[in-house]
Amino acid sequence: MTHPLLSIQGVTKAYPGVVANDTVSFDIQPGEVHALLGENGAGKSTLVKMIYGLVKPDAGRMELHAAPYEPASPHAARNSGIAMVFQHFSLFEALNVAENVALGMEDPPPMATLAERIREVSETYGLPLDPARLVGDLSAGERQRVEIIRCLLQDPNLLIMDEPTSVLTPQEVDILFETLKKLSAEGTAILYISHKLEEIRTLCDAATVLRLGKVVGACNPREKSARELAEMMVGQLLHTPDKGAKETGDVALAVKDLSVASQNPFGTALKDISFEVRRGEVLGIGGVAGNGQDDLLAALSGEMITPAETVRLGHQPVGALGPNDRRRLGILCAPEERLGHAAAPDMSLTENALLTGAIRESLSKNGFLDWARTRGFAETIIEKFDVRTPGPTHAARSLSGGNLQKFVIGREILQRPEVLVVNQPTWGVDAAAAASIRQALLDLATDGAAIIVISQDLDELMEVADRFAALNEGRLSEPRPTQGLTIDEIGLMMGGAHGMEVAHVA
């Protein structure tokens, strides 16, 4: 009888107010690619942290090779042959690839030997990577390769990957999948966490579905449709936003020859960006993270000032105006980072409503604030956008990510923008809330506003956008109608495999 590689038996972990994992059980076989599916907050991360020794379970047991497995720390987990690639990389941009890998090792060999081993592993598994390059110069896909190689150097039995494709172009995803398939063929099991269902159907041999901390199903994902998987995850029928029939009007916002240096030293400068958005139209801007998205939003919101003529609202040059002047004219924005950028974490929702609403909602008179009116505005946002909170006096940081996102998007939409720019509008938001946010964006466009959606979620962009363009190293591709656009074409617009020749897996 063969033992499973890792057996999870009745594992439970509770945090104050929430049971993150409730008697979760499943097995991972050697060499299997096992998917862990679930919405945000379903308990995937907690489960994985327990396997990786970051969190201890309250109850239940784990067995590795049929022996009890109780990792006290990630160090212990690594010694047991379990490695993990996190969604957010922990790399030093000012160091090169080999130095970064060495930092993660207990007892690093001399730099030259290490570089040789990195080259060796990268060739064996089709992960092109030059050990001497500075991490700051690498694309997100290449940085991920650094993390993967760091793990592979430990010869793991089980490799945990948390949302690995969220930062990759379709071509890079293909390279990654080849690597994972090769690893699995050699006997390394992979625990693959994602909510991208098509990927899971292509890659995985088995799937465990979590909802609200409990296992609600196990299946072979190849035998299910993406829709069936999604419904297992969400536990309800999904509502697809409908694009109403719409007519596009005059050009609302025009950007012409926008070139500007980045606000931070490892950011990407914007280069010669030109595009137009019409009233009633949704322009989707895709691209892998770190290709200038934040700076593009800053240039549109007025946080970054550019020559007046580079940004026009209708015929009026606005490039030299600050955020409040642009708001007065009708350009509103919702940045990606909710806590600390779009909202002040320790301030109440009422105060956060004031943060961008002061001008268009007339919340102040001669500089004096009208708190009653501001509170009313916050209450309207909470009600219209179904923000789950006991009331507007609560601090922004007490809301879940999805609820705060609804608040932030709702705050801008309710101010009746002429042009709305959103960056990652549904990042970290559960499926139901994401659908309602997308619907709200489409409704706003139907009412005649021009909308720019910057996102790394291609499915989302295909769902809401009329035209699609991609940011790649600070350049924007020519926008093209989304209808009829193939995934290959999109991948090429996003920069293909980032200039790297696709390595052939031996």
């Binding site: 006290a72 002040a344 320790d346 500089g367």
Partner: protein, 361 residues
């Protein structure tokens, strides 16, 4: 095992309770320290907190001192608190206080011996402008050249002290002072004197100004967009920029207001309780005000109370030195404990303590 767990929201109850608890804990810990020094702890605590206000022999002298000492502390701390809330760290209020006193006294002395009602108001304005200008040096250096305002404002204190010493023995020296360093005594120049307004209370124009500043700061922070921007910039600088706050303008505003208030405090002091510019005119109000600002949670009403409490420990501390022979260092340690316990208590506003059992492996 004791663990700290972050609260989802700051606790209002703890925010109000910690200052009271901090005072009580200071009394206990201070009492222990006094006992170790061989003094009766209860008597020492009573001498510090009770006798200055109610002792039959000393109260008549020490009670007015409470407002005399608290006035400048509150006035300076209110200005500093605005900057501290915005993340603008003016550590040089002592220097702005000195320059304010020099400018104000200089204007008054320039008109000596003319008697006119407008001389004192002019001195107040000159004092405020002096403090403002001294604070603009770190302000402009920061906004133009991105220098660190903490260092620049702090080092300018020592420049101000040297300037004052040179003034006391040079330009502003009393021509009739038989060669002693120090200016004419403004108390003896009716048009320039900042006299006690109600006899026996210690209330002078500086105290009035401090109370007005408390009210203005309260309205600014709670009812005005500028106050909102100050709080926003301190808590979430990126969100402030997104909201349209111009950082440079905010920095200049905060430094300017705190400088002007410190300058006014200096003028009220030199024209009132101190009377003249001397080499050692400043006694550290500008630095103590930093403690007052934090003790009062950067809240105007809190600062009002903290200023009074701090003044009380000063007067009581002097009394304890004099009556019980406690060393001055023990009094300073006692005041330090107060800030220590307050900051330690602050943790409870944002975190709760959990007596966690060892986790099941």
């Amino acid at each position: 095992m004791i663990r700290l767990e972050k609260r989802p929201e700051p606790s209002q109850n703890w925010a109000l309770a910690t200052p009271v608890l901090a005072v009580l804990a200071t009394m206990v810990a201070g009492g222990i320290m006094f006992a170790l020094l061989g003094k009766d702890p209860v008597e020492a605590i009573r001498t510090i907190f009770w006798d200055p206000l109610f002792h039959p022999d000393f109260a008549a002298f020490s009670r007015p001192q409470l407002l005399v000492k608290a006035g400048p502390l509150i006035l300076i701390a209110i200005g500093l608190s605005l900057g501290f809330r915005a993340g603008v760290w003016n550590i040089g209020a002592e220097g702005q206080y000195i320059i304010g006193a020099l400018c104000g006294a200089g204007v008054g002395l320039a008109f000596y011996p003319l008697e006119a009602f407008w001389i004192f108001p002019m001195m107040v304005i000159a004092g405020a402008l002096g403090g403002w200008a001294w604070a603009m040096i770190p302000g402009i250096l920061k906004t133009r050249f991105n220098t660190n305002e903490i260092l620049v404002s702090l080092l300018l204190v020592y420049v101000a002290e040297q300037l004052m010493a040179s003034m006391a023995v040079g330009l502003l020296r009393n021509p009739e002072g038989s060669g002693f360093p120090g200016s004419r005594n403004l108390q003896q120049y009716a048009s320039a004197a900042n006299n006690e307004l109600i006899a026996g209370t210690g209330m002078h124009w500086g105290v009035v100004a401090a109370l007005i500043a408390v009210i203005f700061a309260y309205i600014l922070l709670n009812r005005h967009i500028m106050g909102f921007n100050i709080r926003l910039a301190g808590q979430a600088p990126r969100a402030a920029k997104f909201s349209g706050v111009k950082p440079a303008r905010l920095i200049l505003f905060c430094l300017g207001v705190s400088g002007a208030l410190a300058g006014m405090a200096g003028l009220f002091e030199v024209a009132g309780p101190a009377g003249q510019i001397t080499i050692d005119f400043n006694v550290g109000y500008g630095f103590t005000a930093i403690i007052v600002a934090f003790l009062g949670r950067l809240h105007p009403v809190g600062i009002l109370l903290a200023g009074l409490l701090m003044a009380l420990t000063y007067i009581g501390g002097e009394l304890a030195q004099f009556m019980l022979g406690l060393p001055a260092a023990a009094i300073q340690a006692f005041q330090g404990m107060l800030l220590f316990f307050l900051l330690a208590g602050d943790v409870l506003t944002n975190f709760r303590i959990r007596l966690g059992r060892a986790e099941v492996a």
